[in-house]
Symmetry: D2
Subunit: 407 residues, 4 copies
């Protein structure tokens, strides 16, 4: 007798370093849940060695990978982002067809995320979605809200996001405010940095001393500003070069324009002595928490400055429009792509008295809550805009509704 | 000198019979507009002979096809709908890359529509969308609202749809209530039926006499009820067989489950004498208008019963959940997939005094209005949820917004 | 302890009705072999209900399907054949990556076959190939020899094919003349037809009486004559209509032009009384053997007239160029697409004294032989043209060969 | 009147740096031919900035690009090579469908080449192929001969290749020995190096002095030895580091394993002072000729050491199995992946008296000859193995041939 044979099969698609950190505690909670089985697909940049081969890390963490699926069309342009989305849908559809998951869980707002949502929703598989209702810049903004429309179970990370989801017309019963799973990692993590912290990572440049102050820079391309990436990265490079602490740069994601970012970094390295710089592709999820919770300032446009940063009260300088309109705590200040303003803001943040911790993105139990909902949620793939339901049942307009038929 | 060289290039993707009828007047208006060039891509079922080769009809109507693109993965299952979406994205991305349109216009709520919207929006090409904000059943409901989120210019067909779009958080400046382009065709069309109307169409079964009463049946599969198609079509076949007028059946679209519908029709034909039945794949857009405006009753689950039906005051029996919550005029009555109820409803509709015409879906000038907006609209691919903009500017929450940077 | 854990994993891709019959005895022999595990992928038209859903038959026969993979791009044109090939490669590569087969076995000469060979050979998986070295018309001819070049283990079905493979420059050690696995089925099959033979098949038209004489027609499109399909099928329809026995027509394969063939059949059915005609999509492999071994004449361009026909001594009329240059026994006569000549040839074949059986395509033990070779063959993915090896080692020309390095 | 409207449209797919050099003189000759139009598709690594954006160079050379098509699936593994092949077929099929070329010309032996050949041959477009009949190691060997089987017009580069093509069973009338187009460039090129030769190239490392002796290294991954790439490149790095002249390394192609090669180079750069090393992504075709014709030794496994090297009498050390069995002149010596042997061979080559020039790969007029054949060749897509034709017509075996029907 296999005690798990009646369990719900929950399929999660992990496709990048950042993505893994945002869902790891949920994977663990699904894996540990008596009524759930985990089907884990790993694709996108998570199977590429150029991005630090996240799939190896996932296996080291004790998860069994059900299938690997490479679907990135090379080029890092707007065109290849679109094509990668298409290829991901094709591949995921075949895997879903053969694995027959009961629910597919998809994370946040990336092209891999919408590919997952499209494949599953067309295949009548209920879609669960984390981080819906948040607001930012970049194409991610549009894509996130589009995924919400294709999803059947919502796990917003903040109260405001939950409210926005209902305001958009998602039904109240489908929205579960649980906090962000990334905070689970952060809340449980021992934040102390061992002296040999950087030894195991194959960085480029001078190895940092974890005992001395350092700043962390993570700046992704802004897809909707494609073509400006080199100038944008140069401003940040120039600003940070003048600050007399060690700078730890992390490799950007695989969005359109990441080639510009990488090129800017390479040119800088070849034309500057770069004594106080080091460059890394990837950190284990917990190590990333250690790294940012001990930094003097977190610089760039990563959402971790805002999300984990709120909980960890990390001094952060957010640059440009990528996080536009995202709700944040007072640890974050935002500046344009101007070297002078970036440098000044970093200086001010580093001189600022400690910020207090905020639980706006949750308190550390999102993973367990999500697994519980997945085990019990009503699985119905029929959706309808909540306004319409209300208006029709309220007699506000005449409709072609068959009220007896699930209407 | 080429007078059109500074014109905006508007790319429209036409992918099916129904789709063409919904956008034809816009194609004409773009083609005729002094400041616009039309780039016309034809794909999906519109290039398949099994669906009546709509691309030939398009050329007969005087439009030049820029490129043909076959992207349907065969099977008509939920899996192949997903895969067709992926393949369409891949193909359209290459075409957009080479054609470099200024705006891509996408129609309604189908997998081809969302494929178009995803390719264009990831490629930073502004997306214009018709029929946003409407409410129905089936996967189309989710997909329609997802496309809205990826679109930059909205052309809702009804006042209510326009209101819903803003309620969802689309910015007021991006919503243009213009009516439905399908009404343009209907309003201008000479509705009289020549006696040889059916001669040119290669139908199966007895040729109908246009001078005698007939009913038209068009029943598409409901993707979210995949597996029930055969029962559903059998109920309609049984109901209509008992009604003593000629029945003109139209072939369903290519959604998951259409194979069931086709099979039901085939089995019926082989096991019944079917004297008063005929079956057609395709009518020219104007002929479809003639056909339905002269019928005794329009039966099934096509939106044309509701849309063109409202304007043309066609007695209509809408079956099942596919049009759930769609606003409609009093010409429509909705019944479940029950042969008895369907038969009774058809009888009642046929006996009903004439309905009055409704302009809820527009008055016949949508095409021209859309072309005008396309020629002048501000082309900005950055979007943000309107609630967030309002709340942040109203000081309701602290955000990572760079207000100077288009925030 | 799993006794099969050190076994070689043999992956076979089955994609159509005909294809399954050609490899079924090998599947059984692999399944039964103590040192082999069978990984069975089913794709192409074998997962489409329009083609009789062969995958269900495979499962009824007791085989476990490892994965289903739909990859047919709809249209049945030269363009969509090419696109289906591309999609099949993409899908199969992901499956091979996750299944990690030791050998991939691919059958004959179709687009699915070359897709399998390309995916496996680029992935350094040894490719075994049946039916190499045969000669025919159509694009299959070119594709078959191309697959030979990508394959590492050859299982030709005839002596002449084996000789041709070596003549082309394949190494002697890689060529194993085993006969055709299709003959295994035929040799073991009870050829008697029960009186209710046709009952279980959902044919169209009058059900044939197995006790009375009948002819079987199977005519595939000729891809390299795309556009002539309708005329070609009409000639055969006309010829057979005049012959006063029952005609059993089988549905063509999914090659470019099959739509023409299907259309020809449909038009004929709608315009003729077709009293002595019936149409079938699919027979179980053994039933197909019964069907053709008892027919008065096998008409069309299927290779089964030549292959199984030789062993079963079936009177056969081969039409057109599809089998050009294929070696055959005296049961076959070939005529052009001319109704008069076809009709006359059928008459002569039916009047001819019985033909004698030929073992040119083997004696019925191909499956077991193939499994044995697969269990023991040296697995080396490096290949080189045999002429070159001989010439270089014979000192005929100076080469950049590193003789010590596997040269 | 458009004088070129009756011209044959010749479509060429260029996909990489090396590939462009091998076909450039043909592009020019087609462009200049009064009876031909050039349709130029650029894809693969030729549209990727990581590989030096060859498409820009093509436009600078005065060619108009008909369409750009990105189809590389990222990863540089055996799996992604297979998937890139599939994606290329899908994309090229759509472009061929819309461009309707009369002939498609494909170059050499790469995955892009077989993708082109498969798309065109399934679409009944005659395929012309350069470099058929050559013999080497790697997967290219199998793929080259497979492409031959799909091709209708052969342009072998050497006499031996031409003989091998016929020996394989290609018909004599389809084989045109014209020499290699790459020799055209070399023969016409001014080989003198200006003092500022390296200025315009954005290399990494110390800029070389063109007046001083230097060696050029170009080492591609061997796909069929995937996994050994890092060791192989390390041997070459170690060997060349000890030689006291400047080393100019070129970036490898995009085959499976190129990531290993790139990683080896990066690690070396970060761990060695690398004073006498410089690294380049790309040279213009003519500059590449200058570069290698003036080098003290050409090291690695590029076919240019053998091909252009024969004509230019370049001292060359060929490493490993990639060029196994390729015919070569006495300028080439071959050694295994052993640092000691590589170093010694380079020393001996540099000390060797000048080699004499060989015309085994042609005399410099291949481009013009190829264009002439393309303008006049009989366009027939039906092929049959020449042995079979001979044997059947010689009465050697009974076949199902319809001799009147093009048999």
């Amino acid at each position: 007798m296999n005690p798990k044979s009646d369990n719900r099969n929950i399929c999660v698609v992990v496709h990048s370093r950042a993505n893994y950190g945002r869902i790891k505690s949920v994977l663990q909670a699904i894996h540990d849940h008596p009524d759930l089985n985990l089907l884990l697909l790993v694709g996108g940049s998570a199977v590429l060695s150029r991005f630090g081969n996240v799939s190896e890390q996932i296996e080291k963490d004790g998860f069994k990978i059900t299938a690997r699926v490479p679907f990135i069309v090379e080029g890092e342009t707007p065109t290849t982002m679109a094509k990668s989305t298409g290829l991901a849908i094709i591949e995921l559809a075949t895997l879903f067809e053969n694995l027959k998951p009961d629910i597919v869980l998809t994370v946040a707002d990336r092209f891999e995320t919408i590919a997952t949502a499209i494949a599953a929703s067309y295949m009548n598989i209920p879609v669960a979605h984390t981080q819906g209702g948040e607001v930012t810049g970049s194409i991610d903004e549009s894509v996130r809200h589009a995924i919400t429309r294709l999803s059947h179970i919502h796990f917003p990370a903040t109260k405001r996001s939950a409210e926005y989801l209902e305001k958009m017309g998602e039904s109240e019963e489908s929205v579960f405010f649980v906090g962000c799973p990334s905070i689970d990692i952060v809340a449980q993590c021992d934040r102390s940095m061992p002296t040999d912290f950087f030894k195991k990572y194959n960085g480029v440049g001078v190895e940092p001393d974890p005992a001395k102050p350092y700043i962390v820079v993570l700046q992704h391309p802004v897809t909707t500003e494609f073509g400006s990436g080199l100038d944008q990265i140069n401003a940040t490079l120039k600003a940070t070069a003048d600050i007399d602490v060690h700078k730890i740069w992390l490799w950007p994601n695989i969005d359109a324009g990441s080639d510009d970012v990488a090129r800017g970094i390479r040119i800088f390295r070849e034309t500057h002595t770069a004594k106080q710089f080091s460059f890394y592709k990837n950190f284990a999820v917990e190590d990333y928490t250690k790294l940012i919770s001990n930094c003097a300032c977190l610089v760039g446009n990563s959402s971790s400055a805002i999300r984990e940063g709120a909980f960890l009260s990390i001094p952060a300088v957010n640059i440009g429009s990528r996080q536009n309109y995202r709700e944040c705590s007072d640890n974050v200040v935002t500046v344009p792509h101007d070297a002078g303003q970036i440098k000044q803001a970093i200086g001010e943040r580093m001189a600022h008295p400690p910020f207090s911790s905020s639980d706006m993105f949750g308190t550390g139990d999102a993973g367990v809550k999500i697994a519980d909902v997945l085990a019990k949620a009503d699985l119905n793939v029929k959706k309808v805009l909540a306004y319409a339901k209300e208006d029709v049942h309220g007699g506000l307009y005449r409709s072609a509704t068959l009220l007896s038929d699930g209407g």
